[in-house]
Symmetry: C2
Subunit: 443 residues, 2 copies
């Protein structure tokens, strides 16, 4: 993209526009955040009006807020007015309250109302991310009448492929796919073709991830959102659900890696922002890991007597950490996609203990073989392999119980997995290893 | 679900059916795999015909193959005939070749042809997972004529919301959303309302994950799949893309945790299958980790002279591992969602080195403070904090370069991250720490 701007400076405007039209909007959105702010504004102004909005909508909210800073007030007003209410609400979450109020001033009364309604719901709730732009119909219409309604209301709706059947108080009675409507004979009544049982809905105060997952699990194009009186107040479409799940999965991966999520694309995040996302956990884990030092200090005499014992320490705690990570990441992921629920805890632990026993036996056998061929004494080989067996079983136990327990008390299981659990397994593993050594070697 | 089957045994058939109808198909699919095979067959037969197919389609292919084993030949035939060609191809991937041939015998000629065509493409390719059930139209039709075509072809199509404009040789010329068709005046020509530039397409031999990601990034309902002559041969719909991305993300999380993916839901996987998915990496990492023992052996004399040096080893390599995991998981995820590309390697490394420097300084400062308040000697405090600084910078370097390099040579970057990288950082970190100690303490 930088080369394009080079051309711009040389006043080859047409060349730039022509070149830009070869890119897809999502590609331009990917690239624009890698430029500095002035370049972003220049590039953005070169886009055709429609394309510019489409690119803008594809940026992360933090990057949108950034770009607005580089644009003129009238350009900003146009963009804010054009945005869908849900996109606007997401953007306003990213800017200081004072700025949000100022931005909202330029917007028409109807759009302003739609946005402030969404902003009234809690962040990360279904209400906050839904769009009020859906097509609702009454059940006493005929198929032909409903089709006419779709044609009139369709342009501004987020989707016309699912229609929502409501009563006079806006209570949701059923859904009707445009497919069924198109395939129906024109004089059929809506009430006879709409789906009215086993409706899959979301509630305004539900967590956005749960709702997105429900939409995905049921292969829906959109999920209706109802308030506490069961009135239909909005819908969430498949592409927004997709974006939410992708973001939640990125956050989970960050947490599994032992860092807080950074709330914008990696390439656009600054060094200090990344630093802040990591230093907290690194320090917490460092402090927790000082336990391992204390455990070793307890066994100072044993270690001094047989220095060879220390050679196996990184190996042992490494294997414990690896076995624990394998379990914890599997369980965390299975819980994220709702395959494992809290009530499964006993079955999971029983399964993991058996897996851990098999893994432990395999590792211990291997370790004995290795130690003997290396010429380590039999006694140390025995200590190491017994310790390996115990550490691996311990690791699968902690790795399966910890995420489920943490989830039960309402925290996010992703944060405990790999590094946090490793620290726990490290300290307990050392305790087991050095105790075994002291007893078996008679130290 | 087990309680339901209890009722079944007591012949309260209506009670069971009524109770089952309260569950959504996706919930039944979740629960059925937790039962044993006989129970699965009993429960499956209790479902209404439509519901049974919908539940069957929601099972993982391995679980589908499993369930078929428990059903009668005529039931199996009915299911295979009813399945969409793409779902059938996915199922056939899971059964032995001989079984697949036998299953295919019961299927009508048309369905057989559709399925063998898909099976002709490589596993995990777009061609293998696409469905040939789309609606194609010619561009010389009017909107009204196209609408008629949709009504005729619509029932058996996977989606009617995107129509594909093709020429006489089936080359893809453009796409038309049903929304634009419905909103167009009836006598408008298709060529004037279809989208014909910047078409987003997939090729039959592309990797399924890349295609699914492209669909998601562009907010599409379906993506057309063309062969080498640009002829339209199938489409992939948003729900299939969703399932692919979810599966790929589960696999990535497994790999980040240092295990091979298990190819079915966790609760349905047996102990031996889970064991096999983990033992390989655990052994490889164990062998790699024996390096750490060798490094320590090199410094045996230093360790014997100052046993307190060993107390800091788990702490140091733990911090190195944590810092490296933070970086590696971030980069692996950013590469998975195409935010970071191979050509970004220098920018990523430069960014990570600066982050690593800041993290290292923070950790070293903290460690000095901690060591001094603990009463460790100043010299050891100096050694530990210098080692921490180096290890953290090293870890961010390895954590950022390794995934990108591994990806460049065509392997999967997810497998190298956390545990593999930890092992490398452990050995190098020990080398740095013990070298520093030997020099500074004059051992």
């Amino acid at each position: 993209m930088r080369e394009l701007l080079q051309n711009f400076e040389e006043r080859n405007l047409e060349v730039v526009r022509e070149a830009l039209s070869q890119y897809k909007d999502s590609e331009i959105a990917d690239e624009i955040v890698r430029l500095d702010l002035i370049e972003q504004a220049v590039l953005f102004r070169l886009l055709a009006k429609d394309g510019a909005m489409s690119v803008f909508e594809k940026l992360a909210p933090a990057d949108q807020a950034n770009l607005l800073n580089a644009l003129r007030a009238d350009e900003v007003n146009d963009i804010i007015e054009e945005l869908d209410p849900d996109d606007r609400a997401r953007l306003f979450d990213e800017v200081p309250a004072g700025v949000a109020v100022r931005l909202l001033e330029g917007v028409s009364a109807k759009e302003k109302f739609a946005t402030t309604t969404l902003l009234g719901y809690a962040p990360q709730s279904a209400g906050r991310i839904m769009t009020p732009q859906f097509v609702s119909i009454r059940e006493n219409l005929t198929a032909a009448q409903a089709m006419k309604k779709v044609r009139n209301a369709g342009i501004s709706a987020e989707t016309i492929y699912i229609l929502y059947v409501v009563d006079t108080t806006r209570r949701l009675l059923g859904t009707l796919s445009l497919k069924d409507l198109v395939l129906a004979t024109p004089n059929k009544k809506i009430e006879s073709i709409a789906t009215k049982t086993n409706l899959i809905v979301a509630h305004t105060d539900e967590d956005q991830e749960d709702v997105a997952r429900r939409l995905a699990d049921n292969d829906l194009l959109a999920i209706p959102v109802v308030d506490r009186e069961d009135r239909l107040v909005g819908i969430i479409t498949h592409d927004d659900a997709f974006a939410i799940l992708e973001q939640e999965e990125t956050e989970d991966v960050s947490k599994i890696g032992g860092a807080n999520p950074i709330d914008r694309p990696y390439m656009a995040a600054g060094v200090l922002r990344i630093f802040r996302s990591r230093i907290g956990w690194l320090l917490i884990l460092f402090v927790a890991a000082t336990m391992t030092g204390s455990v070793m200090k307890l066994f100072e005499e044993s270690l001094e007597a047989v220095i060879a014992l220390t050679f196996f320490i990184p190996l042992l705690i490494g294997t414990g950490g690896n076995a624990g990570s394998q379990t914890a990441t599997t369980i965390v992921r299975a819980m994220a996609i709702k395959e494992v629920k809290t009530r499964d805890v006993l079955r999971v632990v029983w399964k993991e203990m058996r897996v851990g026993f098999l893994l432990g036996i395999a590792m211990a056998t291997f370790a004995i073989f290795r130690a003997v061929t290396w010429g380590t004494g039999y006694e140390i080989a025995l200590v190491v392999s017994l310790a390996l067996l115990s550490v691996v079983i311990l690791a699968t136990f902690v790795g399966s119980v910890l995420p489920i327990a943490i989830n039960k008390i309402g925290w996010d299981p992703a944060v405990v997995s790999a590094p946090f659990m490793t620290t726990l397994v490290d300290a307990l593993g050392l305790l087991i290893y050095l105790s075994l050594a002291t007893v078996i070697l008679g130290l």
